[in-house]
Chain length 524, copies 2
């Protein structure tokens, strides 16, 4: 195709010399990225279960709740459930399906989360698929350090900067890496301060004891410069709890869950049902158990505060048959996520899943496993994708290179979901242009192309589309190393989002006061 | 979860010491892989077009064929089309939609391809998704050589061994790398000899001139020890042609297409419509043009031999906005593939797409781009996935490491498509097992798990699911290097499939005779 090649070169020259094609949108200096927006998942979900299959999975879930029950290791939670009519024996709570369905029906199918920057407001549900950063790895790895190390506050802050920097990251999850260099009693104060000053996106609180939850809610309230009443008027943050599978909710998680429920904040419950270990080896059984554990928490929340927003999460995966180690982004994981998606729609609840892998470094395996989990999120109709950027080693390691590689994929998913890619207007079908070009022409120079060229296709910031020779001449840099270079450049150019000085001082004062008081107990 | 961890360790010990879990299926020494089978795509396709959108795309395709026409640079083809009622002006052939639909309807929705080993018989269509090796890169890269080099016969043979070795590779495509060290006049003889002796899977012939096509058909016939009549009784091989987009079919491709059509072999037509270069910049326009070019060849084949099996291929992608270079595995590529899938179903034809990437080395980018194309193949209902293993640099480089990494992904897709993953029988829902284990137990040791443990989950051969410390202790080997090690081990243990000595000698004699005759002309 020498003609086409010539035309391409001509157009490139034209662009370089400031022709029509020179009017490109410009982002930051490090990369040119997609603008912030809330992508809508336009695909019909992939549904491995028939209608009868959904009924069977529902029935099994209800039998677990009715006949076997869930243990709530929190006396107040047990009392609330007993008073509402559940069958209680010690810590075991059995809930009839009528009550489950009645309570679940009170939870909204969609809701908003309002962070300190109203432009970053999220709608959870309503067809959206939103992405959050990796949360809670105790360890950190980057190519410069070259090994797995315990997380620090600085590394955590750097990953928070990435969370803020990338427009395809919609919400801040838990700590993107645990800053082990900060004492656990005051860690939440320092990290939440960093989070609220380095990002303006929707915030998360760990449900790890009364003090932590109350401190984070108060700091979020301060950051938004609002009253307690305003804080409670709409959800402004969320928590995510995990059950202690099988069939248990522990005290600190339940405590945070109930505190957040009372104040009308967002509630996400995500059982970690590893098939063959904490759940049945069969995926449908693991999903049924996950749903039962999740719905039990939703029932409690709806009794406490009817209508409080609840999200059903899935973290059902399988173990490695050779070692018993957890595996992620597997075929079984994908199907469990899709089955959970069908059930979330059946119960009318927004859904959470994750971007996950078992790989230890940001290489080919890391990307195929993460791709499997991210496409499962798309296929399942997931609304909140946790850990969507930066996760390695089954969640035990956070990596800035992986974060950036994942964001490249997230942007491509966002582009994939733009309806205009499949536009079949007469303009897009372009029969007249095909006639104009004919069998001996090329399309590069025609008006139809030139008018659309700058926005017709997704433009990556990390993928290298040079040919081998040009790539070699540019240093033969593999993807992970390119991501590392971008990481450094993003850190250099990062600017924190604006925050009123008085609010910042109020946050500083709060942190200082709570540190003086000793922070939170660490006996959990 | 210390309880679960203990149980895992106990079970591991039991397995090592030859307990129940010791009865694992064993494959070759290098890896334990999935058995050969023809996976069925059980997912409902992802359909970005509405019913009206399908009609609009169809109408645009028909307008291209009726109003603009396709150039056939082959006088005999033009005469055949003229005689059948098409409107001919020089090389331009316009075909009315009634004739298109009448002829396309003669092509079967499914057909079989019979290679020399009847156990490797394929059914194309009928819901199958089948995978073939990378085809036609002129260059080769592996981690040992560390740079891009021209292909050799030895490298080609090694990649053919991988094609045979992996059960997830169902058919042999074109040369997995062009052996540039063999003169072009006799290259097809040597490579097809290697192919027929190193593999027993379905064979392909390039449509590159009369001699090549006839030689390959004859060698396939010899390899199966059958008469000419038997050769023509069922399709035993296939060709794949590309149009010369826009809107042209060149002489050698048409020549091979017609020769294969007359003898009732499999026909795949795959226009390479790169949006913005050889096709409109809008994806629907590029797909419409691709369909028009493809359907024109199908019409010709059906006039020549009504009922001959035809497959509609797609290779619609987009260029890099920065350089004009082709890009692969992009969001636009995915949607074009899905749209083509909808149209292939509309026309009742089996479909071909590809496993592709723009990346130059087998790294993270290579895998996310390849994943995008492979999931597009699943989502589109593709029946034949060309280039499914081994492709780099937009098809200019073949890589054994990439081949092996891709096979890991292909196996996972095969597992993903097994209906039993989503079994919702009472056994799979496992309510009684959840009751038995209760809130304080674990599932590892129970009968329900032990009875299913060995086959419950996909077992990878390349993914490393060890934790970071164990992975580090094992040498901290990244995926591509692990694949390289496997490549060496597979080469060491490879055994060619059995072939009757007399047939092998007949093939050798044929090659010697045709070489003595000068092989094929090289003036194309």
């Amino acid at each position: 195709m020498p003609d086409a090649a010539d035309a391409i070169l001509t157009a490139q020259k034209r662009r370089r010399t400031g022709g029509r094609a020179g009017n490109r949108r410009r982002g930051g200096a490090a990369i040119e990225q997609m603008p912030w927006r809330l992508p809508v998942n336009i695909d019909r979900p992939t549904e491995p279960l028939t209608e009868e299959g959904v009924e069977r999975l529902h029935h099994a879930t209800m039998r677990i709740l009715e006949e076997i029950g869930i243990e709530f290791l929190h006396p107040e939670a047990v009392e609330i459930l007993r008073a509402a009519g559940c069958t209680v024996q010690g810590e075991n709570v059995r809930i009839g399906r009528d009550m489950v369905m009645e309570m679940v029906a009170k939870a909204p199918a969609k809701f908003t989360l309002m962070p300190r920057n109203p432009d970053r407001k999220l709608t959870i549900g309503d067809g959206h698929i939103l992405f959050g950063n990796v949360s809670s790895p105790p360890n950190y790895y980057d190519l410069e350090i070259g090994k797995k190390v315990s997380g620090t506050r600085q590394q955590c802050a750097n990953l928070l900067k990435l969370t803020q920097y990338f427009n395809c990251i919609h919400f801040a999850g838990g700590y993107p890496v645990e800053p082990v260099d900060v004492h656990a009693s005051v860690r939440h104060l320092d990290v939440v301060f960093d989070k609220l000053t380095l990002t303006d996106k929707v915030m998360h609180a760990y449900s790890l004891g009364k003090e932590r939850v109350e401190d984070v809610m108060e700091m979020v309230r301060i950051s938004q410069g609002i009253s307690h009443e305003e804080f409670e008027a709409v959800p402004r943050m969320y928590t995510n709890i995990n059950s202690t599978s099988p069939l248990k909710h522990d005290y600190p998680m339940m405590d945070g869950w109930m505190r957040m429920a009372r104040r009308g904040q967002g509630l996400v419950v995500t059982p970690f049902t590893l098939a063959g270990a904490m759940a049945p080896v069969t995926m449908a059984g693991a999903v049924a158990q996950s749903l039962a554990e999740g719905l039990a928490a939703v029932v409690l929340a709806q009794i406490i505060n009817p209508g409080v927003p609840c999200v059903i999460g899935t973290f059902t995966s399988n173990v490695d048959m050779k070692t018993g180690a957890p595996a992620f982004g597997t075929p079984e994981y994908m199907r469990a996520t899709q089955m959970t998606g069908q059930m979330a729609r059946f119960y009318g609840l927004p859904m959470r899943s994750s971007g996950v892998c078992a790989a230890n470094v940001p290489d080919g395996q890391a990307m195929w496993e993460t791709e499997h989990s991210l496409w499962a999120a798309v296929q399942s109709g997931t609304n909140m994708v946790y850990h969507a950027a930066g996760w390695l080693e089954g969640g035990l390691v956070a990596s800035p290179e992986k974060f950036i590689m994942d964001c490249e994929v997230l942007q491509q998913i966002q582009r994939y979901l733009e309806p205009e890619v499949c536009d079949v207007s007469d303009d897009a079908l372009a029969v007249e242009t095909i006639r104009e070009v004919g069998p001996n022409g090329h399309f590069f120079g025609v008006d139809h192309t030139q008018e659309r060229y700058e926005t017709a296709f997704y433009q990556p910031f990390l993928s290298d589309w040079k040919n081998f020779e040009a790539w070699e001449a540019a240093g033969a840099v593999w993807t992970a190393e390119r991501a590392h270079t971008l990481f450094k450049r993003i850190m250099d150019e990062f600017e924190a989002p604006p925050l009123d000085v008085a609010i910042r001082e109020e946050l500083e004062d709060f942190v200082a006061r709570r540190k003086a008081e000793g922070g939170a107990p660490t006996d959990f």
